[in-house]
Symmetry: none
Subunit: 250 residues, 2 copies
């Protein structure tokens, strides 16, 4: 591996994980500890990262820049509020399905010390769930890089070995007539199955999704409880004829 390649590898991993360990880099690149140390020293002098004992972390500068450009942080405060409200619906000892997605990701910090078992099809959730000490099962299946989610028949098959007390789904569109929708049919299928295996289904959304229609239908409004940050009152009445709606600001 060329020096540049290692540097790129390190930065790329750092961007994805927020933190890297020297020993991991040694194993992954095949370079020696000394070389990785030199790499980190060099990259730190370029302000690309900040060294810490045992590895390196993103510079604050990079952190801010990333959070501005990253779509996952758009509407972040709303998402976190919705996530917190959703997490409060979980009881001690529940078995929980967490859909792959940024909103469900935000729920994780609120799940601590609840003695939960969490199942997810989202790759990005695994590390964080684990950091919070939560027993975590991944569905497995075919990996879809675009959304970092596992989908397909194997995923569905694996899920059928579980039963959930509660399941939390993200959606891209919610519409009085057309119900819940999402761009990817395969992910829609996973969401459907999760819901069918769960005693209670909750859909997480923010107000930007109201009366949007995305491509693939997940289910009708009747089949899940909606958790959303806010909603105009005239529309809210229509929704409440069909399903239970929990507003965060109440």
């Amino acid at each position: 591996m060329l020096t540049n390649e290692r540097h790129s590898y390190i930065l790329k991993k750092l961007e994805k994980k927020q933190a890297v360990k020297i020993q991991d880099l040694v194993d992954e690149t095949g370079a020696s500890e000394s070389t990785i140390r030199r790499d980190l020293t060099e990259l730190e002098s370029q302000q690309k990262l900040e060294r810490v004992f045992g590895g390196a972390i993103l510079t604050r500068h990079n952190l801010i820049e990333q959070s501005v450009t990253d779509k996952s942080t758009q509407n972040l405060s709303e998402k976190i509020q919705v996530a917190q409200a959703a997490a409060e619906l979980i009881k001690e000892g529940d078995s929980v399905f967490l859909d792959a997605g940024t909103t469900t990701f935000q729920m994780i910090p609120f799940l601590q010390n609840k003695n939960l078992v969490v199942v997810t099809n989202g790759l990005t959730l695994v590390d964080t769930l684990n950091e919070y000490g939560i027993t975590t099962y991944l569905t497995g299946g075919l990996f879809k890089s675009k959304t970092s989610a596992f989908v397909g028949s194997q995923t569905v098959l694996a899920m059928k070995n579980y039963r959930f007390d509660v399941c939390f789904l993200g959606v891209n569109g919610l519409h009085v007539e057309n119900g819940y929708t999402t761009p990817d049919p395969e992910e829609a299928a996973v969401k459907q199955v999760a819901s069918s295996l769960s005693r209670n289904t909750f859909v997480l959304a923010d107000h930007s999704k109201i009366n949007q229609i995305s491509f693939a239908k997940i289910m009708d409004l009747e089949n899940a409880m909606l958790i959303i940050d806010s909603m105009p009152s005239e529309i809210l009445d229509d929704f409440r004829k069909k399903t239970s709606v929990k507003l965060v600001h109440e």
Copy 2:
């Protein structure tokens, strides 16, 4: 190969891989090191690429480049050499099981363009497999943070929906009498199942594992072919009475 031919070959490869090594170009074009150096110097003066120590990279985007590990036979750690030797046993279109671990991780760069389907229980492998454009299935199951592997009954259950042409396992100990061993019984179970579902089983190890005995037994030597960097000849004879051994340095 003519000068122009070499130049376009270099640029084409660079386009595809984002980085090229001089030694690789020497091997691939049959030209001498001096000639390749002259080519790179020339192309750099035309702003077509940027030279770095050991090779060249694309000039354009400052984007984080994909890591490229290639088969230059010099200066590779033992793990990578073992990994490469292992990867060469895979045929076009094979279905492959890759055990969680650092040695199997090193196989990934050598799996490109083989039209494979890869199944793994290693979380860390998923991202990299995906970067190399390889169709990837994860077994799923209970996540074990210490080794970033999925283990347990769900993992085993999910695996039983697959059949493999070849499976590659890492081990911590190999011993003439005691066979293959590893510290974690649950991972040992996963390795056993993978092997039972595969037409051919290969164990990857380096010489530091010889005649070590770790805790959990995986299988006897008879049940897998061993791929290892080197082995003292008197021991080698003992091993060869029981199983096929592929030495990297031969």
